[in-house]
Symmetry: C2
Subunit: 314 residues, 2 copies
């Protein structure tokens, strides 16, 4: 099988904001979606999934929910939306979901997740994706979608395979704004340019939202300088990004108003932050490629320490 079956069986691993939102979109149009839930299981069993969205609110009264992936069983597509800090749990979670042609779509942040899945389950199964979306899980089973929504998917190495294009069409059929990237690693670096700078400064500047960064001339200069360093890092890794990117991101960020990046929310609540995939992996790869990145080095060191302190304090 090189493309998806016409009514594929889908599993969503990690039904926080990202998994809950995109999974619900797919379920809303009648697709066979199975959610793995933990802490929210009872709340969703009682009340279903509530999506409050700028594209229109909706409610799934009785989604297919499960406490284990063994209960879900083999699927055609597994969408992985766990935080990358929980990757150690993935091999055990995913194994019961596999048949010979199961595809794994990771919507996780940063670098290293496709490689992790490929190492465990073979590169032919793995599709990468990234989300440009502002969503928060505001209560068990309640997800708030406040801005954007684009998903970009692609193959970790090389141009998109037929199954990747088919998955893009499936997402589009569920009303998801989806693009298929010809070069997934380049798409990742484009998104990382913003995440490294703004998720990073939001934590390192003492816990601030994007509007505080944009309205503080020193922090805004640092945001620009860090994004410029990420451009250099991406170029060193073989993915030159447009020179206009930094100004474009500054302009967009000024427009979205006060936004708390997901890493900041994790940090403030004393939860694990994706330090490795968002900061360490990009830095390590770019340094290995010869880039000199004083701000990224410092940001990574500060965030690693701040996150460790915050978690120790709780």
């Amino acid at each position: 099988m090189e493309v998806l079956p016409s009514n594929p069986r889908l599993a969503i691993i990690g039904a926080g904001a990202v998994g809950g939102y995109y999974g619900s979109r797919l379920a809303q149009v009648g697709l066979d979606v199975h959610f793995l839930l933990r802490s929210d299981l009872e709340a969703v069993r009682a009340h279903g999934l509530h999506i409050r969205s700028i594209k229109g609110d909706f409610h799934l009264p009785a989604p297919h929910i499960h406490a284990t992936t063994t209960e879900i069983g083999p699927c055609d597509v597994v969408i992985i939306a766990l935080k990358s800090t929980a990757n150690a749990a993935l091999p055990g979670l995913i194994r019961p979901l596999l048949h010979a042609d199961t595809k794994l779509l990771t919507l996780q942040n940063g670098l290293g997740n496709e490689e992790f899945l490929a190492d465990h389950f073979g590169p032919e199964r793995v599709i990468g994706g990234l989300c440009y979306v502002c969503i928060n899980r505001t209560a068990p089973g309640v997800i708030d979608h406040s801005a954007q929504g684009l998903v970009i998917i692609g193959d970790p190495q090389g141009p998109p395979q037929p199954a990747t294009r088919a998955l893009g069409s499936l997402l589009a059929s569920a009303g998801v704004d989806c693009q298929v990237s010809d070069c997934l690693p380049r798409s990742r670096w484009l998104k990382l340019t913003w995440n490294i700078a703004f998720n990073g400064l939001a934590i390192a500047a003492g816990g601030v939202d994007t509007s505080i960064i944009m309205n503080d001339s020193w922090l805004r200069q640092q945001a620009a300088a860090i994004m410029e360093e990420v451009r250099q890092a991406a170029a060193a890794c073989g993915h030159p990004l447009p020179t206009s990117l930094v100004d474009e991101y500054l302009a967009t960020t000024a427009q979205i108003g006060p936004y708390r990046p997901s890493s900041l929310i994790d940090y403030m609540e004393g939860r694990d932050v994706e330090v490795d995939s968002i900061w360490a992996q990009p830095l390590q790869r770019a340094r290995a490629a010869g880039a000199v990145l004083p701000r990224l080095e410092m940001l990574h060191a500060l965030i690693s320490s701040a996150v460790a302190r915050r978690m120790a304090d709780r």
Copy 2:
């Protein structure tokens, strides 16, 4: 009068750790020392000043203490140990202490304090000083001196005047380890090299002491890289510092064990931090002199923001 009278009248402005400790040393040997006190006035009136010191504990049962500088009146030497963030109060506080030849010794941190005093009271009065000492005010009237103790004094512009040498002798006569610097600005940059890096990282890495910085390989590398940038900043400002300085500071810092820089304590307790004199002024002067300082820029931006957030939270 070009030198000090044989039994000079001394005022101590800011009887926190630094003012309390050095003022008590001077009073202990019988010098005529007058302390300006605010919040600690009643405690010191009741119990005196208690100094717990690695050089031997001592107690001043009835130091000369005052609630206003008008009550103190004219002195020969005013030792200023207020935080530089309170400089706006200094002109009013100092004026009642002046006679024609009163000298002003500032023991405040960083750059800009001598210039501030010179602008208000004339450069001929101003002597600068810096302390290499670990002291904390642990309770009202109780000061803990746990390491080092060296004071370096000098003239802001040019070699030391006779009055500066006389003040050095006075401090030495009270058992204070005191050196007179031939070049005070260079001495300030030498001390700033440590303070900018360690006070800065202690705050920006999430509130950590020096041993956490030294035991975290990423943070320790940043400490070294930041100190190296301060060396470049100092050189740009006309004060080349030895290449061995960074390694020497790393070795000393490893030896002193867990130490919380004063800026960190201020930060953790939601008090004003000397951001301007320790980070902004050095950065501004070195940039004006053409230095390129990505880490210092970022550290300054992060600390400014973190301090503002912390104070807003309290």
